[in-house]
Amino acid sequence: MSPADPIRRIVVVGGGTAGWLTAGVLAARFPNRGPDGVSVTLIESRLQPPIGVGEGTWPTIRSTLKQIGVSETDFLRECDASFKQGSKFVGWVNGTDAYYHPFTLPADYIERNLAPYWLEGPRSASFADSLCFQTRLCDHSLAPKQITTPEFAGLANYAYHLDAGKFVPFLQKHCTEKLGVTHVLDEIVEVVSHDGFIEQLRTKTGSPLPGDLFIDCSGFAALLIGKHFGVPFVSCKDTLFIDKALAVQVPYQTADAPIASVTVSTAQSAGWIWDIGLTTRRGVGYVYSSAYATEESAARELRAYIGADVSYRAININSGYRREFWVGNCVAVGLSAGFLEPLEASAIVMIELSAKSIAELLPGRRSGLAQAARIFNETFQHRWRRIVEFLKLHYTLSRRTEPFWVDNRQGVPIPDYWRQHSPWHEDFSAREEVFSAASFQYVLYGMGFQPEPTPWLLNEADRNRARDKMTETARHGESLRAVLPTNRDLLGRISKYGLQKI
């Protein structure tokens, strides 16, 4: 073992969404196999069935899937996937409200911040309706594309809702058959390391598995980052109160029931209910805080929401993340790195971002690992922190009166800065900020946050421009409404005919 040793044997521990997605991204990025190339091996325990995190994704998933060489048609068909164009928050302000956080950026987002001009009035429509055409599509369960639109392209920005139970085998098949990932089914009985670097994994039945870089995708077990390296877990439960989830699968009432274009999050007395429409069923669940609701009362609220008696699966949520993610030659990705309530569907996007970062930072030789680890840790500590802050913002902006909501706001003021300034690019210094100024605008103004008027910072030319953009947004939305099929119609056609690659 020397600093000059090349990094070419990548071992991924864990066969869930994180494991296969990371293996796929790395195998696609480093396609040279054989003795002089890079090997990617995924070891998975027969005993540990994958948890299947979240069914919601971000638009980044389109480029990730495209990069690893998956066909969108195959993916949609095999994972019962549907199109997701953002989130809709219902009842978060006071119980009678609703607003969208769409994926398409506000009009003119690259050039000018038009939010102050919307804030100024007359506010003939909500912020998102005024500056984003996509809300009109979501209102009518329309698809973000047509059957003639090529794979991974759209007329509005989109991601997917997917069945994680089908996504994992889909990725596994692609990784092993197309990308040359070696799949090992075995138990790890010992992690052999030297000077803080893992050398090999001893397994129950097979020969030892040596490697140069180990990716810990072992889920909550955190076999390498937690059990072996003892990196502590930073809990966020003082900030994010949610610690339980009750999940159910709900069939559609009729075969032609609309498939929603967004994840619907409906506020409840001690948390909120997610509602995700796949092609075959809805996935619904109540995430709540056990300090404010019993399982019985939560189940009652969930049943009231669904309107039927259902049996649920109870899940514990331990919000938080590792103090470090990359130690020596080991990187944690997925649940072993951290987990937060699925409010903005951050789980899968964090896996994608991690895999991409590893691929981009991967040094050629062992001597480069320390630098890669330093950058990776800084980047991801920042990202997890920012996600927690952004999730918390949804709670602090609420005016609901149940104890869960009141306590959520206790001692957590809305950042004073947003009172005098509308979120904009310069506020977010990091490259690939998880939540951009656009997300902050959609949530702040969607939840009715009222900044102080600062008319001396506004001007007539931009005011006119804003008015024009709002007119254009409405027109564009209406013209798309006329040509876009419903989600169900398009998904049916895709299942029958497929999408073209060009």
Binding site: Q146, I147, K501
Partner: protein, 242 residues
Amino acid sequence: MTNLTTLTSQTHLNLRVSPQITRDSAEMNAVSVIPREIPRLLAHYPIFFLKSPESGRFEPVALLGFEPKENLFFNDGRWDVDYVPLQIQRYPFSLVPHVGEPGAPASLDLAIDMDSPQIVSEGGERLFTDEGTATKFLEERASMLQALVTGSTEAYAFTGRLAELGLLETVQIKVEFVDRSTKTLQGLYWIAGAALEKLTAAQLMGLRDRKYLEWMYFQMASVAQVSQLVLRKNRVISGVAR
């Protein structure tokens, strides 16, 4: 409006249909064609591929004009070249799914659009003899429709294979007319020449064996007809068309 009615010798014994194409069936700027008529189309029409709005699959089309509903081959009530694409020749006849016993094998019935201006009270062609058997005219139409059904399956198999091999690419056709106005045609696809050169011998043989290679070269050659289409448009612009 169309008013499709299943044809029977009892109901339609004395019906007369004019083979003369009318504006109703001619007003379109592109018509889908089947591979087997491509050799005949080549002499007059530029052929490209378009995505079907129904299925997104590629279909071969003959371009007839540059603007919506503009058919530069149809002037003064007549089609001015000797070969009319089957999809237009077939009017006012169609095939419709047979409504039979549930579970019976699917079949198609010959139908006619009773609202078509090609239905005439005098002249034209009879569909049935007095004895109620189909006339040669009707038999020809029926076989055209049959050819369109078979041809459409064949066309989708052809374009499906082209797409699979990456042999189709988008193309923007920009033309300039005599009055200096320009037009860019969007949404068209053609054979990707560069991809064609990279095919393996086995892939090429596969294409040749199914006649696909021939059709591909015909399509490529037909692009030259775009300039003929521009000349037709120029005659309209200059007012010498009629």
